[in-house]
Amino acid sequence: MNHLWNLIRKELKELLTPASVISIIVVALLFASLGGALSSEVEKAEALPVIGVVSYGTADHYRTALDAIDAYYSSSPGSVMTMTSDHDDAESIINEMKGSGISVALVFGASYSDDIDSFVSTGTGPGGVIEIYWCEVSTGVFGAISAAIVSDLIDTINHVTAAEIVGTIGGTAAMLTPVSSPKSHTSFNGKMYDGYTPSDISGALQSQSLLMPILMMIIITMIGSMIISSMGNEKENKTLETLLTMPVKRTTIVSGKLIGAAIAGLIFGVVYMAGMYVYTNSMSAGSLSLNELGLTLGPADWIIVAAVIFLAILSALGICMILGAFVKNYKAAQTLTLPISVLAMIPMFVTMFVDFNTLPAVLQAVLFAIPFTHPMMIMNNLMLGDMFMVWAGLGYLAVFALVMIYITVRIYNSDILLTGLIRKRGKGTLSAIFRGSLLKTR
C-alpha cells in the first residue's frame, strides 16, 4: 500500500504540474466567461426591443394598433417611441432609428385604416399594411428572438383589430378563437408529460445532452494524451526500466499509474464541469428546467453517475497504457493519442445530435461497445428511467475496465514493454503476454 501511494504521488506530481493545472483552469474560466457572454446576449435578445412607430393620426384602426402596442409594452413603456419620418422615406426612417437608438420600426401606411375597412367590406386588397424596418440587427443565433417578439406583436395588433371589427358588426371576440389547444400531452420514453411539447422536453434536456458528451470527450482525450505522453517520456528517459527493477509488484506499478492518472482526470473533470455548467446553462436559458419536468437525480443516481464516469476514465487509461506500451518515445506517443480521441468523439457527436434509441441496431451495438458512450448518456438514461441501459452500461464498463487492466498488467509482465512487438514465425511475442512464459513472481 505504501509503494502504491508512493507511485500515485509521483504520478500526480508529474501530471498535476503548474502548467497543466493553469491551462485547465484557464480553459474552464474561458468556458464560464463565454457562458456569461452568451447569457447576457440571450437576456438582451429576450428583452423587448426599442420600437419606433410611424403612423398617421389617432383615428380608427391607427388608435387601436397604437393602444395594442402600448399594452404589449406595458412593462417597458419607455421603449415605444413615436417617429417623425415620412412613411415612404426609407433613408429618413433608418437615419432616425440610428439617431434615436431604435431597433425596429413599425411603419403604418398612409391609408392603413381605410385599407382595413376596404378589406373587411369587400374581401379584396392587401388590408392594413405595417412595414417593419430593422436597424443594427444581431446576426447571431439569438437575433431570431427579437424577430419572434415583433412577430408576436403584429399578431397581437391583428387580433385586437379583428376583435374591434367583429364587435362593430355585432359579433363577439370569442368568434375569433373558436378553436384552441391550450395543453399538449407528450408521451416520451414511455412516460406521459402533460402540458409539455417535445420542444419543451428537448430544451430542458439540452444542458445534459451537451454537457456530458463534451465534458467526457475533453477529459478522455486529455488524460489519454497525458498518460500516453507520460509513458513515452518514461521510455525515452528510461525511468520505466529503473522503475521495473524496483522491489515492487508490477500490478502495483500499473495500479499506481492508473489511480494517479484517474485522480488527475477527475480533478480536471470537476474544474471543466464547473466551467461547462455555466456555459451550457446560458445556452438553455429560458427553457424549462429539469425540475419543472420532474427529471431530477437522487443521491443513488449520482453515485451511479460517479461510478460510470470513474469506470470510463479507468477504461480510457487502460486503453492508453496498452497503446503507451508500444511507443518508443515522447514524439511517437503524440501520434497514438488519435485513436482514443476518435473513440471519444464518435459517441460525443452521436449523443449530442441523435437519440440513441432511434438509431439502427447495428449502430446502437457499435456505440454500446465504445466505453465512452455510457458516461455521455448516463444522466439522461437515469432521468428518463432507462434502467436497462444504465445497468447494462455499468456492467459493460466494469468488465471492459477489468479486461484493459488485466491486459496492461500482462504487458507490464512481458518483454513487450521494452522490446515492442516482434514478428516471429509461430508463436509471437504478443502471444507471450497470454502464455505463462513470464517471470512467475512478477
Binding site: N2, H3, N6, R9, K10, K13, E14, T17, N233, E236, N237, K238, T239, E241, T242, L244, T245, M246, P247, V248, K249, S414, D415, L418, T419, I422, R423, K424, R425, G428, T429, A432, S437, L438, L439, K440, T441, R442
Partner: protein, 241 residues
C-alpha cells in the same frame, strides 16, 4: 568468496534472432566484473535479463543463490540497475526523486537515512533541491549513481556509467564504484571504455555475437594475448572470431 551472481547457459531470442546465446559467467561478492563487446553483441540484453527486465529464453540466473525463474522478487531486493543514458523524472527535484526511489526500500526514518546517503553520494550541494530538468549530464549521472547505490544493493548492475561524461565527472564516478565495491557490493558493469574497464574491473567477460568468448582478469587477458592494453585484447579477440 561466494558467488554474488551466476549465469548459466543464458539465451535470449527476439523473434527469430538469437541475441544472447548460451552465456555463462559468475561474479564474486565484492568483485567488479566488466562486460565488454562490440555494439549489438548482447551486453545490454544480458544486463536486462539479470535485472529482471527481460525474460530468459533458456538457461538461468542465480543471484545470491536464488533463481530468477522462481525468486525474481527476492532478486529485485538485492540488485540495483542503472540503464545506459537513463534519466530521472524531470518535474521532480533531485531530493524528491531520491525520496521517491528510497520509498521502495524503506519507510520513515530508515527511508530518510537512505535519502541522506543518496544526497551525500550525489554531492550536488544546493542543486539537490533544483528540478532534475535543470541538471547537466554530469549532475544527472551523479544523481542516478546515488539512486542506484543509496539502498545498499548487494549487486549493482551498471550499463555504460561514464558514457558521454567529461574527464572529471567520469573520474569521480569511477571512484564511487571502487568505493562501493570495497564496501562489499558486487558490481557488474558494461562499458565501451577499455581504459575504464582496465582500471576498474577485477575480471572481464567479452561477449560477441551473443556468445561469451573470453573471461579473465585484465592482467591474465593481456598476458594471454601478449598485449599491453585491454583495448588490444578486445581487438585481437574480435579479429580471431
Amino acid at each position: 568468496m561466494a558467488d554474488a551472481l551466476v549465469v548459466k547457459g543464458l539465451s535470449k531470442s527476439f523473434g527469430d534472432r538469437l541475441a544472447v546465446d548460451g552465456v555463462s559467467f559468475s561474479v564474486k561478492e565484492g568483485e567488479i566484473f566488466g562486460l565488454i563487446g562490440p555494439n549489438g553483441a548482447g551486453k545490454t540484453t544480458t544486463l536486462r535479463m539479470i535485472s529482471t527486465l527481460l525474460t530468459m529464453t533458456s538457461g538461468d540466473i542465480w543471484v545470491y543463490g536464488k533463481s530468477m525463474r522462481t525468486d525474481a522478487d527476492y532478486i529485485r531486493r538485492c540488485i540495483s540497475y542503472l540503464p545506459e543514458d537513463a534519466g530521472a523524472y524531470k518535474d521532480l527535484t533531485g531530493r524528491a526523486y531520491l525520496k521517491f526511489m528510497a520509498g521502495f526500500f524503506a519507510n520513515g526514518e530508515e527511508m530518510e537515512n537512505i535519502v541522506d546517503k543518496g544526497i551525500g553520494i550525489a554531492d550536488l550541494g544546493e542543486r539537490i533541491d533544483s528540478k532534475v530538468s535543470t541538471y547537466s549530464k554530469g549532475m544527472m549521472r551523479r544523481l542516478l549513481i546515488a539512486r542506484a547505490i543509496m539502498p545498499s544493493p548487494r549487486l549493482a548492475i551498471l550499463d555504460e556509467i561514464t558514457s558521454g561524461l567529461d574527464v572529471m565527472n567520469a573520474f569521480e564516478i569511477r571512484d564511487v564504484v571502487r568505493t562501493i565495491a570495497k564496501g562489499g557490493v558486487s558490481v557488474l558493469l558494461s562499458s565501451h571504455n577499455m581504459f575504464e574497464v582496465d582500471q576498474l574491473c577485477d575480471r572481464i567477460g567479452m561477449i560477441d555475437g551473443g556468445k561469451m568468448i573470453l573471461t579473465g582478469s585484465p592482467s591474465e587477458l593481456k598476458e594471454r594475448y601478449k598485449v599491453g592494453t585491454v583495448e588490444e585484447v578486445f581487438i585481437k579477440a574480435a579479429v580471431k572470431r
